[in-house]
């Protein structure tokens, strides 16, 4: 008897009790921005996913969701204070669920089996859209933003964003992503 499966999400969370560090908030928001760059309706999808996952209490509308993302210090209009654990966990769950939804696109970007011109075209489209969003929402005087916008110097970092989304997309992706965003400051 051959069966394929529905996967259950783990209920136990390995690490917790401490707010997400500043660098983690930056990376979380940049990955959400990358999701928006991949999906033209990413903003809408984020709100929809938040409702689907039962976070309507935490983020009752898109403005509340946007306000939490504005804790990223790289933003043009950044908000002071820190996000509490429930909010960051909810944002990470939304990110992982969106990455799972976009997995075929992430896979196509990372695959070396794809024809080279097609792959280059996909990357160019993603990078153009990401640059547009970065220019619109992030502080261009920040070194991190400038590097991400740089066509050569930022290529590695942009690829790492896509790779992180792909590896955070599976059923165990939330645990990995959560642990990664809590890394110590380098």
């Amino acid at each position: 008897m051959v069966q394929t499966l529905p996967v259950q999400h783990p209920d136990t969370l390995p690490v917790g009790g401490v707010p997400l560090p500043r660098r983690g908030v930056e990376r979380l928001d940049l990955m959400l921005l990358a999701v928006e760059a991949l999906d033209l309706n990413g903003g809408e999808a984020m709100v929809w996913m938040s409702e689907q996952l039962g976070f309507s209490g935490l983020f009752p509308n898109r403005v509340e969701l946007w306000k939490r993302r504005c804790h990223n210090p790289l933003r043009r209009n950044t908000r002071r204070g820190s996000l509490d654990e429930a909010e960051t966990d909810a944002l990470i769950r939304i990110l992982c669920a969106l990455a799972d939804r976009l997995y075929p696109m992430l896979r196509a970007l990372l695959s070396q089996a794809e024809p080279e011109p097609l792959s280059r075209q996909r990357w160019a489209l993603f990078e153009a859209r990401l640059a547009e969003l970065l220019n619109e929402r992030m502080n261009p005087r920040r070194g991190g933003v400038q590097k991400l916008l740089d066509p050569q110097a930022g290529a590695d970092q942009r690829r790492r964003l896509i790779q992180a989304l792909a590896l955070g997309a599976g059923p165990g992706g939330f645990e990995r992503m959560r642990a990664s965003l809590r890394d110590a400051a380098p």
Binding site: V15, L106, A108, G168, G173
Partner: protein
């Protein structure tokens, strides 16, 4: 009754075969005793093994994927384990790290005189493998203990490893060189001669010479 569960992704398919463990009250579509597994890759040899081999694969691939999310591609596994995975960047000092370079998965057989099998995966194939292993690990119908530690945040030292050694050493070495050059140049400048003590008479003479000359009568 023998159970077969299949987990599919674009580039690989993992199939588990086993039986419900009736001694602990399993019945129906549950695997409590794993009798075998196979992993099929597109265009690569099929892997087969026992539970220990699948556990070894999980214990190496999943922590490696965890590190990659943080941008660290340190090898996981080793010569004493049946599985090892490392970035395929080749040169550890490469500025680009492992981005896009692929991953080298090495599987060592427990059979004597069998050379290790090396599989080169690109980022997409690694992501497929990770998803398949996650599906097995978190499948409620598979009641096996995988002994997988929870993912943990990386420490500062582990994160520093993602920066190539050459770049990490550039700033301190540059500082030492600048300090050495400055000190060397300082040694080249001759020290000023010490001031000689001046006698009171010599001190008075210049004072007199500075007085306005008196006009002499013609």
């Amino acid at each position: 009754m023998k159970q077969t569960f299949r987990y599919d992704q674009t580039s690989c398919r993992l199939q588990l075969e086993g039986l419900p463990d009736v001694s602990v009250g399993h019945s129906g579509a549950v695997i409590g005793i794993l009798t075998g597994w196979s992993l099929q890759w597109t265009g690569r040899p099929e892997l087969e093994g026992r539970k220990e081999h699948l556990m070894a694969l999980m214990q190496v691939v999943l922590p490696y994927a965890r590190q990659l999310i943080s941008g660290v591609d340190r090898p996981v596994g080793g010569a004493d384990l049946p599985v090892e995975i490392r970035g395929n960047s080749g040169n550890a000092a490469s500025d680009r790290g492992n981005s896009g370079g692929g991953h080298r998965l090495q599987l060592r057989s427990s059979q004597p005189d069998t050379p290790p099998l090396e599989v080169l995966l690109d980022d997409a194939e690694l992501a497929d493998l990770v998803r398949v292993l996650d599906q097995v690990r978190l499948d409620g119908r598979v009641t096996l203990s995988w002994e997988m530690p929870d993912p943990q945040p990386l420490r500062t030292r582990e994160l520093l490893e993602r920066i190539p050694l050459r770049r990490r050493l550039a700033a301190p070495l540059g500082g030492v060189v600048v300090l050495a050059v400055s000190a060397g140049l300082g040694w080249l400048v001759p020290p000023p001669a010490p001031l000689k003590p001046v006698a009171p008479a010599e001190r008075a003479a210049p004072a007199a010479a500075n007085e306005a000359p008196v006009a002499s009568p013609p």
